[in-house]
């Protein structure tokens, strides 16, 4: 299955929606809503509200994150915003500022 990749020199200002995995190496501003997984890689910069199933963040994210399954903040990531998901993982070395909500009742 072909993945969607936003390359490192790409800047998107607007809205991204879809039903497949999305890998961000570049910059996205606006809003992202997916029914699959979002990967923000080390070079990725996201200034957007995110709604997905899974998120893995190794880059920078500014905005609120809402996932139906899991949010993973990897080492060296920088995240500012509120995170809401049943499962939230924050690795050693991750930088994070915001609220965490793991309320399972929501599902």
């Amino acid at each position: 299955m072909a993945n969607t990749v936003i390359g490192s020199s790409i800047v998107i200002d607007g809205e991204i929606s879809g039903d497949e995995d999305l890998v961000i190496q570049g910059t996205v501003k606006g809003k992202i809503s997916l029914r699959e997984s979002l990967f923000v890689e080390g070079s990725g910069v996201v200034e957007a509200d995110i709604e997905t199933q899974n998120v893995e963040i190794a880059g920078r994210v500014t905005g609120n994150i809402q996932a139906t399954d899991k949010v993973e903040l990897k080492a060296d990531c920088r995240v500012v915003g509120d995170v809401k998901a049943p499962r939230i993982l924050i690795a050693d070395g991750a930088s994070f500022k915001g609220n965490v909500d793991m309320d399972v009742k929501e599902r």
């Binding site: 072909a2 993945n3 969607t4 990749v5 490192s8 790409i10 999305l22 990967f39």
Partner: protein
């Protein structure tokens, strides 16, 4: 993730189920299999694959359209519509390639033409068509308009280029059959006269 990095490096792909609406800019090749709406500008090549839909004003270096593009494309190098490509909008690029099977509606602007290359090719079919038009028993105003548009081939080509430069459009012009003028007018006129007379009497 590691495998993804290897596949992905330096090339952006918009997958078939993805919709991006807004502004997209970049300095690398972009392959669109999904939808992009809004504005798109790249310093490299845009590839719209058969499943891809772009509804945007596009500014790129090269564009290869195998999917659907609605909007204007401005390319600093070339625009190619492949046999699966469908496009509505204007193209502005020094090199424009439209292959057999492609569907296109809009204007093409290739900028300044290299003199003496493309002009003679276009004049030949026009001169061949000329005798067939003259042999037709056309009403008086028609040949006057036709000859006015035809004699200076350079001017005619220039004027024909503006609406799109498609040879198909030009060829369709002389094929028009003259309308069946003679029988119709007297009947209508007679009927009209009678009615008018009756009304006046009342």
């Amino acid at each position: 993730m590691a495998a993804k990095d290897l596949v992905a490096s330096g090339n952006t792909v918009i997958g078939p189920s993805i919709l991006i609406s807004g502004k997209l800019t970049g300095d690398e090749d972009l392959t669109v299999r999904g939808r992009v709406e809004g504005e798109l500008s790249l310093t490299r090549t845009l590839i719209v694959e058969p499943s891809g839909v772009v509804k945007a004003n596009v500014t790129v270096k090269n564009a290869v359209v195998s999917g659907v593009v609605v909007g204007n494309i401005q390319a600093s190098e070339s625009v190619e519509l492949t046999h699966e490509g469908r496009m509505v909008g204007d193209i502005r690029a020094p090199r424009v390639i439209i292959v057999d099977g492609a569907s296109f509606r809009g204007r093409v602007d290739m900028g300044e033409l290299p003199p003496g290359r493309s002009l003679p090719e276009r004049t030949t079919p026009r001169t061949q068509l000329r005798p067939t038009v003259r042999s037709l028993p056309a009403p008086p105003p028609r040949p006057a308009a036709a000859t006015a548009a035809r004699p200076s081939s350079a001017a005619a080509v220039a004027s024909a280029r503006k609406p799109g430069g498609m040879p198909g459009i030009v060829r369709g012009e002389p094929a028009r059959t003259p309308p069946p003028v003679p029988p119709a007018p007297p009947v209508v006129a007679a009927g009209a006269k009678k009615k008018v007379v009756l009304k006046k009497k009342k």
